[in-house]
């Protein structure tokens, strides 16, 4: 054997032994101290909550003084955490007051600064989430800017943050973002479903997009809002060039449930794509109730199994003996 290697290996061994023993000690200390710091943090948060509640309950202070006292007790990032109800769940009224104070005292821009300029990505994200939770319209531009950043985490959490705002301008930004195909339609639309019905007009306008993906998801979103006033436009979409959009439009008409949709749905029963016919049958059973039977009966002989099954189910709802 070649002994000249051995000294080198021994030196490596010494190095590795030192590294492994240091690492063991570090991991054990880390595990032991984490519990301690978690306890300290939760104690701090409980105290903070008590102090905030006592200031908010004070009847002797003016609104401005209360604001100053509320904000003075927490640093911007902690405030960011508090506003977004992440680590400390405050009573809704107090949370609202805190948000209002932040906007009134212009402190929200400190958080905005962190959201845009901090070098720590996760601090930025924490601040971005809080910006959305504040629902302050002035920070929309900041969120819109970070939405298009290359870092996918920043972009993703800016999108979630916009979802917290629940305003028409935020909805417009999200609907534009939908067309960029960066995140799935499921994700973007799930953020918009909680928005107030005032966004419906913008959603309907977006159904004129040349992109079938955007049209499809807008129709899916409209199914949640069930806007009676948009029946005409949705009926038009049952003639869309994309079969996905046609199927979604049929589904949406079924959700709205008005008999005026019957002609458009009846037309879709002759569609060349099986799932459009299937959704048309299902929607017809919702909009025209028992009157759907004559229209659905021929569909029992459809070439597709699922269309036949939907027709059978639809007929069985109103005439069980006729379903076969």
């Amino acid at each position: 054997m070649h002994n000249y290697h051995i000294q080198f290996i021994w030196q490596l061994n010494n190095l590795l032994a030192a590294a492994s023993f240091f690492m063991s000690a570090f991991i054990i200390m880390y595990a032991a101290s984490r519990g301690f710091f978690a306890k300290m943090r939760s104690r701090h948060l409980v105290l903070l909550k008590k102090r905030l509640e006592s200031v908010a309950a004070s009847k002797t202070l003016t609104v401005n003084d209360r604001c100053r006292l509320l904000i003075g007790k927490i640093d911007p990032l902690e405030a960011a955490d508090v506003i977004s109800n992440k680590s400390l769940v405050l009573p809704q009224k107090l949370n609202e007051e805190l948000k209002a104070c932040f906007i009134a005292e212009d402190k929200i821009h400190q958080i905005e600064h962190i959201a845009l300029k901090s070098r720590n990505k996760w601090r930025r994200i924490q601040a971005l989430i809080s910006l959305g939770s504040s629902e302050d319209p002035s920070i929309l531009t900041a969120l819109e800017k970070s939405l298009l950043e290359k870092d996918e985490d920043i972009s993703y959490f800016s999108m979630l943050s916009l979802g917290h705002m629940k305003s028409v301008p935020a909805a417009k930004v999200l609907l534009d973002f939908l067309g960029k195909h960066i995140y799935s339609g499921h994700k973007v639309i799930s953020l918009l479903e909680d928005f107030p019905p005032s966004i419906v007009e913008d959603v309907v306008n977006t159904t004129h997009s040349p992109d079938p993906f955007v049209r499809f998801w807008c129709v899916k979103l409209l199914s949640k809002f069930r806007p009676v006033q948009c029946l005409g436009r949705i009926a038009e979409l049952t003639q869309d060039t994309s079969s996905d959009v046609r199927a979604a439009a049929c589904e949406c008409l079924g959700e709205i449930g008005l008999p005026e949709a019957k002609p458009a749905l009846a037309h879709c029963l002759h569609d060349g794509v099986w799932f459009v016919r299937m959704h048309a049958v299902r929607a017809l059973s919702k909009v025209s109730k028992s009157e759907c039977i004559p229209l659905c009966t021929p569909m029992l002989k459809d070439s597709d199994l699922l269309v036949r099954e939907s027709a059978r189910n639809a007929i069985a709802l109103y005439a069980p003996h006729a379903a076969g």
Binding site: I9, S20, S24, A31, A32, I125, L160, S184, K220
Partner: protein, 469 residues
């Protein structure tokens, strides 16, 4: 040419084995280093995610759970209860009683109040004989399928796939107890891009020693039994470090059967799980990579998340351990042999260059290096050629290299998953230094047994005996 002198021959074999060891450890160091950052990123991402919105959204993707169960009377109740307790807006559960001879069906009946049902059953996937389909009276979204024969665990899963309605299929083992937020945490990732993500897995550890009541984990008291503790260390090293790193480069080799989610269209296109292998999960993951790349579908992803999704039972004695690892070794050999065409093929990118060569050189051929090294040492000692001082130096080097890598993986786990109490961390850290003296040998025996059985053509799904609870 003069014959090689014995000490020269030993030196050549030594250089080959030592070179193999150094390359392997450098590979592990690189993977662990990548996982150090990737796991952190995923954990931060998870702690910032808005799960509440997903639990109430009508647009959250629904999931079909599949639980294949063969003689699982002691675990199926807790497993099912933990699934039913998932904080998720829409899912169905398909339990397959796969020809059980114990009281698995009676336990299910007691829990679910079963009654025969006439569901449209179309056999898209080969699965053996289905003897009955039962609906639950108290949980309408649960269906039980009973099978009377055939096609191993793969067939049991396939029979449930024939009934599954939703786009994503979550397969879990019947001895797995899920965390209540397991599904929402994993599906939150899928929801970001369901067109790309075709498969996804999460971290699970061993449930042995835990106190469980009604599918809920009451106390996470990790077993101090060294067989179990070493497996926990191995799971941490493999799942929380290596697979997370492979996943970053889309080179994930295995969506494990303990908890894995697949997109249904991929399962359909691939004809479901294959029953001709000793186990189904590794082969299917390789097949999915191969299929998608051959089809030139761009931008697909198979992910491993470091989030703790659940706990599964592991073997608690040496003979059970060898039975399980023998099967794992066989399936590795089977899958690597079947997909050998992918190795170093430029079109297959990272899976071809990062994962499969590792599987070939370590998981398949590693046992030959290990046996060669042991034979070399034995021969060296018997013939008096081996200097024990040098031998000791290299053994210490190997132990310390392994310790540094395992400790880094342990740190990743301790940092990102707050489940290990300090006393378990101390215990695991001590065990890591002693791994070479016992567990490594056990692994070598299991791998050797698996390799021999593979060569003999054994393809059975051997189950080790469950502990009575």
């Amino acid at each position: 040419m003069p014959p090689m002198r014995p000490d020269n021959l030993i030196y050549v074999i030594f250089i080959i084995c030592f070179g193999y060891f150094v390359i392997l450890n450098m590979y592990y160091v690189s993977l662990t280093f990548v996982a150090l950052f990737e796991s952190r990123r995923r954990t931060k991402e998870s702690s910032t995610e808005d799960y509440h919105r997903l639990t109430v959204s009508a647009f959250t993707l629904p999931v079909s759970f599949i639980i294949p169960a063969h003689n699982e009377e002691s675990w199926i109740g807790d497993c099912l209860k933990s699934v039913l307790r998932q904080d998720y807006p829409e899912f169905e559960v398909l339990v397959v009683d796969d020809h059980s001879t114990d009281k698995t069906f009676q336990v299910l009946d007691g829990l679910l109040k079963l009654e025969p049902t006439k569901k449209d059953y179309v056999e898209h996937f080969v699965c053996g004989e289905v003897s009955g389909i039962f609906a639950s009276r108290n949980h309408p979204h649960v269906t039980v399928i009973t099978k009377s024969s055939g096609c191993k665990k793969a067939g049991a899963i396939n029979s449930a796939l024939n009934l599954a309605r939703y786009k994503y299929i979550c397969v879990i083992d019947a001895d797995t107890v899920l965390e209540p937020d397991a599904l929402i945490k994993v599906m939150a990732q899928v929801q970001k891009d369901p067109d790309k993500i075709i498969g996804i897995a999460g971290f699970f550890g061993l449930v042995n020693g835990f106190r469980i009541k009604d599918g809920r984990i009451i106390e996470r008291s990790f077993s101090l039994n060294p067989v179990v503790a070493y497996q926990n260390i191995e799971y941490i090293r493999s799942l929380a470090a290596h697979r997370v790193a492979w996943s970053k480069y889309n080179a994930m080799p295995n969506v494990a059967g303990g908890f894995g989610i697949w997109r249904r269209d991929i399962l359909l296109e691939l004809g479901g799980y294959a029953s001709e292998y000793s186990s189904e999960d590794l082969e299917f993951t390789f097949r999915a990579h191969d299929y998608i790349i051959e089809k030139k579908k761009e931008g697909y992803q198979i992910l491993m998340l470091p989030y703790l999704v659940g706990w599964t039972e592991g073997p608690s004695n040496m003979s059970s351990f060898i039975i399980q690892r023998d099967r794992w070794q066989r399936v590795v050999n089977e899958a690597v042999w079947k997909y050998r065409h992918m190795i170093l093929r430029p079109s297959h990118k990272t899976i071809a260059f990062l994962t499969l060569p590792y599987f070939l050189f370590y998981e398949v051929l590693g046992i030959f290096f290990e046996v060669a090294a042991i034979a070399l040492v034995a021969w060296g000692i018997l013939s008096g050629v081996l200097d024990l001082g040098i031998f000791f130096t290299y053994i210490v080097f190997m132990i310390l290299c392994n310790a540094v890598i395992s400790l880094t993986a342990l740190f990743i786990f301790v940092r990102d998953q707050a489940v290990l109490k300090t006393r378990y961390v101390i215990y695991f850290a001590i065990l890591i230094f002693l791994e070479f003296f016992w567990y490594r040998w056990l692994m070598t025996v299991a791998k050797l047994s698996g390799t021999i059985n593979y060569c003999k053509g054994v393809r059975t799904f051997d189950k080790y005996e469950r502990l009575k609870r």
